[in-house]
């Protein structure tokens, strides 16, 4: 690659004439709308997945490993049979793997900050929210992928989707909306922390207890009273309940509504904060 690059530099371009031509055009199109700019940033996120497909490793591997490990290692001990436990945990695994994926929104933002490209974006005459909202489009694709991989493994192992296709679509929608709310929070974290590793460590330290202290893996009834109270108040328990309900075809609008409200709350707090942090970043 190096030699190729050197050959490139070696072929002295006739800079002057063609350069003057491109400079002289003076074309000044009118500014794109905030939505159009955000879509362009979304396109950038998708291009990055295309060029760095490794970043999909975690997204696909985590749901596979989690589903297999939890079903076969804990299944017998917890529910007496792997089949029944799978039926219980699969929705929880989807919630946990999608939640893990949201941490990467912060990692991606932080990685961008260590390069000069953010200064370039910030010096452009574009909507202030577009560089932040846009990447969430590409992130949504990751959430859907993570959930679909987990669901596929579950189906292969014999998970019954009583909620049917509509239930699956509903569960995916709830998961994505919730994840987007959470992604704003992690993007804010990505703007505050010093290194991508820092975001990763801090993010997972936060996510691990929150997701495990929910109804994702174990029925809260079996927990000590004090813990049970905490688990029932944990927002992740609500997300698991809604996802489980949708997949099983017995979700209530209350279950879904509370998750959407929680996502809205996260967005209302962290979206303006994130946009402000991005703007005032040195």
């Amino acid at each position: 690659m190096t030699t190729q690059a050197q050959q490139q530099a070696g072929s002295t371009p006739d800079l002057d004439a063609s350069l003057l031509a491109v400079l002289a055009q003076g074309e000044r199109p009118s500014r794109p709308s905030a939505v159009s700019a955000a879509l362009t940033f979304g396109w950038r996120g998708l291009l990055k997945i295309k060029h760095v497909p490794e970043q999909l490793f975690d997204v696909t591997l985590t749901p596979i490993l989690f589903t297999l490990m939890f079903t076969f290692i804990w299944g017998g001990a917890i529910e007496g049979s792997t089949g029944e436990y799978l039926q219980y945990i699969l929705p929880g695994i989807l919630v946990v793997t999608v939640t893990f994926t949201t941490v990467y929104s912060g990692v991606t933002m932080n990685t961008d900050l260590t390069k000069g490209v953010v200064d370039r974006f910030r010096s452009l005459p574009i909507s202030r929210s577009a560089p932040l909202a846009g990447p969430l489009l590409a992130d949504s694709c990751r959430y859907v992928l993570a959930a679909l991989v987990g669901l596929a493994v579950g189906l292969v192992l014999g998970y019954d989707v009583d909620g049917g296709v509509l239930g699956v679509i509903g569960a995916l929608a709830v998961l994505v909306v919730f994840a987007l709310g959470l992604a704003w929070a992690f993007t804010a974290l990505g703007l505050v922390m010093k290194t991508p590793q820092g975001v990763m460590n801090f993010g997972f330290t936060l996510i691990f207890p929150l997701t495990f202290m929910s109804s994702a893996f174990v029925d809260p009834e079996t927990m000590p009273d004090g813990l049970q109270a905490i688990v029932e108040q944990n927002p992740f328990t609500r997300v698991v309940t809604a996802t489980r309900g949708l997949l099983e075809g017995n979700a209530s609008w209350d279950d879904i509504g509370i998750v959407l409200a929680f996502a809205a709350l996260l967005t209302a707090i962290f979206a303006p904060l994130t946009i402000r942090l991005y703007r005032t970043k040195a």
Binding site: L19, E27, D119, R120, S123
Partner: protein, 333 residues
Amino acid sequence: MTKNDNLAIEATGLVKCFGETRAVDGLDLSVERGAVYGVLGPNGAGKTTTIKILTTLLRPDAGCARVMGHDVVEEGDAVRGLVSLTGQLASVDEDLTGKENLILLARLLGFSRSRAKSRAIELLEAFGLGDAVNRQVKNYSGGMRRRIDIAASMVVTPELMFLDEPTTGLDPRSRNQVWEIIRSLAGQGTTVLLTTQYLDEADQLAGRIAVVDHGKVIAEGTPGQLKASVGSGAVHVRLMGAERRDEAQQLLAEALAAPVHLEADPAALSARVDEPERTSHAMAELDRAGIEVAEFALGQPSLDEVFLALTGRPAEDQTDEQAEEFEEEEAAA
């Protein structure tokens, strides 16, 4: 501050602190439209921070600045519409190809999908990157990266272009290409503000230069004025042998009418000269005395020499400020 329509940049009393460090400390600047303006200073002098204030990336703690007639704090959006910034760090996405980067920026600037594509190709070809269109920028050489950085700033030809140390770390060939680009840019009417650590570079490109130290402008003028205030440069002499160096020192001191330093090399001497025409006389004196000379060079004053003349200390004294610049980055991170 009065609004002056002839000025591309008009800054007074800019201050920006990062914790205890006053990165920019009462900086004044006025740059006329259509000019190439050089900001010269060592690492940590406040050059990058100044550029970040002028491109609205940082809000000054005190002072005010107008860029192309717009206040950088109050009318940031208008400023961003007229300027472009080529930062010191790679300012494109290294994971994307050259073409994708330029399409991305063209789309963000409002070009239609098809026009964005054709504009990207036009720019890549004009910058001699036609063969690297579909290669990821992380696989570009240093010179190619610099060119794509600059090309990215020209998707829409800006009225004012900021270039932060555009040639630092480049080989001489790539540096010449960047210089050529800057001259073309200026030639078609864009105002250019570039920062540099090299007097030579500022001299080559800029019509006026501001020397910055500790966040302040300590000297301002044309390259000629600046060099006149510093002295034209230094004479470096290396003798064929070291035996007669003391004798040579005496002869040169008389001929140049300036103190002559003995270098670490036992056969080398140097002197600052204010009147370059005396150097030929000095050369002749050495010849007459039969002292054989291996090398005789009249060099431009370096940044160090400029600093020595302006502040009484060399620029290297600011190495502790490099640490501060890291702190500044830290504070920013």
